[in-house]
Assembly symmetry: D2
Homo-oligomer: 268 residues x 4
């Protein structure tokens, strides 16, 4: 009998792209809060969600990951990846949630784990300024005046440039954030005549546990989203940039909340 949490499923089950949860994550994040055109943002929401406000956030994260027993971080090509996430402010049945229209990572293992949670992951190249514990002109301070940059490029085109200048510690994470993120698990049909239908089309809510957050630095930010011939991210271009953040966080994922089956037929 074949074993494994995802394809490829094999005799011993050690070849699967993503192993069985729990999945443990720790990352350094740079984030930018900004405003977008509310009508444009609302058009990105799936059935079941409504726009809560024109407030968005972009997160740029340098992650390290391990499954429960494999200590993938000791073979770090299996463990480390970069991620850019865009979150919109939405509500589900009156409760505030966030929704992710776009997300890019740079490792297949992360892409697969993401699809299972409904994150609409694609491959992209994210770079984020690092902090080191030594004074150097090669290195911003993690403190007032420290400047951090992040960029996203997808298929050889630069899509986002962001920069954050730290100012002071704060108690609040950027908003919208991951805590109540809602996604759509989606797996299409390929049989002829069914291309507009989906085998899986579910509104789900992330459920993470053992969340740890470092001290949170807040400051000024700027961010530019560049034109693109077919990726619709420029529709979510900042009309105003509110603030920037830098912090670390850790969490574990081994569950998901099923909110609602979406109509799987006649998707157009």
């Amino acid at each position: 009998m074949l074993k494994g949490y995802t394809l490829p499923r094999t005799p011993r089950g050690t070849s699967s792209l993503a192993p069985k949860p729990p999945w443990h994550y720790v990352g350094n994040a740079l984030a930018v809060e900004y405003e977008v055109n509310a009508i444009a943002a609302a058009a990105f929401l799936p059935e079941g969600l409504e726009l809560a406000s024109s407030r968005c956030a972009a997160y740029f994260i340098e992650w390290q990951y391990s499954s429960e027993n494999d200590e993938e971080y000791l073979d770090p090509v299996r463990s480390q990846y970069h991620e850019t996430i865009i979150l919109l402010s939405a509500q589900f049945e009156g409760a505030p949630v966030s929704y992710c229209p776009f997300i890019w990572v740079d490792q297949d293992v992360s892409l697969m784990r993401g699809l299972i949670q409904g994150w609409p992951k694609q491959m992209g190249s994210t770079w984020i300024t690092r902090a080191y514990d030594l004074p150097s002109k090669a290195n911003p301070v993690v403190g007032p005046g420290g400047k951090f940059g992040a960029t996203l490029s997808v298929k050889d085109r630069r899509l986002i440039e962001a920069q954050v200048t730290l100012c002071e510690l704060t108690d609040s994470l950027p908003s919208p954030n991951f805590a109540r993120a809602v996604n759509v698990r989606y797996f299409p049909e390929l049989v002829a005549g069914k291309h507009g239908k989906a085998a899986v089309n579910e509104l789900v809510q992330l459920k993470s546990r053992d969340i740890m957050v470092s001290p949170i630095w807040k400051g000024e930010a700027k961010m530019e989203i560049f034109d693109h011939p077919y990726i619709e991210l420029p529709d979510l271009r900042p009309t105003a940039v509110i603030a920037g953040y830098r912090f670390s966080f850790a969490l574990t994922v081994d569950d998901l909340i099923h909110l609602r089956d979406l109509c799987s037929y006649d998707l157009g």
Copy 2:
């Protein structure tokens, strides 16, 4: 209403990782036919398939792809990719089919199209000797004595090295081949308590059309599969190498044959 064949689904539907079929492909292939341990091979087959023989084939392919209207080959980072495929000889209800235990590509678009067809795609680095229409010491002839190499590396470890020396034209494609490939479409659950169940677990058969094949060169081959700490490919190491091939082929995919729903519960 959101549009798009895959995630991300967006207002205009142009951001999806994989667009709606048909998907058109053309590729140059280097292939190696070989024998494996039959007991080892049988252990890789899903429910519903039986091993037909110990004959395997490895394909190394340099692809170019386009969807119906987008001419992605004019922005070739969207279109070109490399692929390594392993095929086993199986049968389904007495009919000969092939089955793919492992496949690696180097572009996310290809990975997504593959998952939808049940190909167990992961990211890997495949390199294949190219032929050019000029005599040079940098270039094998496409003819008797021409030597072609291929390598696969996954997460910074080299997994396969193959070499083919062309000898003569043949009328037969390598066996097993793609024509009747059977895969498993598989999409797992993440809700706690259901990690051993799958939302989609279907035995399917590829259905391609408009298949074109170039003249087929056949010759001698050698192939080595290296040890690996967790990918089970070395279980399918050659016990004997039979022959090598080089040819080009083109095909279009916009359909799939549903063979059987597999048990989605208690996957172990």
Copy 3:
């Protein structure tokens, strides 16, 4: 005694990044002839060269390489690379030559061989449409109406997009071309007080042999060079695009013509 043509030099001399010449090359090229602002172009020429005309050419090439005895093309990660080259029309002591202000490759071995010849190589990502010998919507014809694209991206920013539509065969290669390319071999000093001086600063001319050229297709072209914050390529943006080309060529390099030592002191 250490051996090897370049660093690292080692006991057996097999570890050098670039082996001893001859170096054999074969490639498929897409090229665009265009006009630039003559004053801008002249400003890129080194001491000893004068601008001959405002005519430029951009070449996008998919190369395969081998040294004399190593058959690197059988381990193609050692052999294959992509290249984007910009050539200006210049003259040296009254004779027509070309000069390369910018060139990008995607393999270190090619970068090192280039530096030794004076090519100002940097790493960049070049993609070029491929032709296959089969009709497919994934594939242009190598003939009238066949459309080919090429792109260059450097450090996650797209710098060039080009497209060529083939029309007819021609007897002439694009101009300027490689045949009489002049470069500057340049190796700086690092000792304090000498940063403005160079240990090597020589005007040289390429010398290749055994040049083979395929039939040459010519047609219409378009090309765009995008803004960049520090790479000065946009100074050489097309004022008019003249023609596009597609052809293959092969050549061998194991010599160089020393034209003139340039002043190595007070480089400013």
Copy 4:
């Protein structure tokens, strides 16, 4: 007049691969001290150096870099890179020095800066476990028991795997170290008949300033160097592994000590 510290030299001088020094660096290092066969190690030393002991060190470093004025760390694809360095214990005129037979980086800017200093840089893929300031199963502690891994892969073959388990703080850096590293600046000739000669062949010693070192963790280590068909690193395979280290350091480079011109003729 063309400007720029390295090729390409251009009208404004902003396109050079490496800008004029000073170059500022900060990095996190994982290091392994080990013993090698002394005869094998001695064979790697250039003219002018003698082996001091069979003690070697391998360093795996995640660097961030900036030039004096450009704040490249804010566009981090220009600034960040990984490096694997092997150092031998040597002496020059009786004084203890280190010598680098092999070094790999993953950015062209770093490769160019290295060649100018005599580092024999090639491109390679280095991965190093990261530490984050939060407890997580995805993350080792920077303290007793914390386990860190590092790997090197070159042209799709894994060459080194190392693992360090931290035990205690120490006052001593690993030995040999960078402080007195001696390299060979080397730039070959290509003119026919001179392939065995070099335009530059100088024994030099690194000179860095403003060196800062973090607290230094020391512990147990293991390291494996794998077979390779042509890179001679396996000649320097550990006969015994002594200790492992983790620390951060920062430094600035804008000078070099010229020790001796090496014979440039008849290099064999």
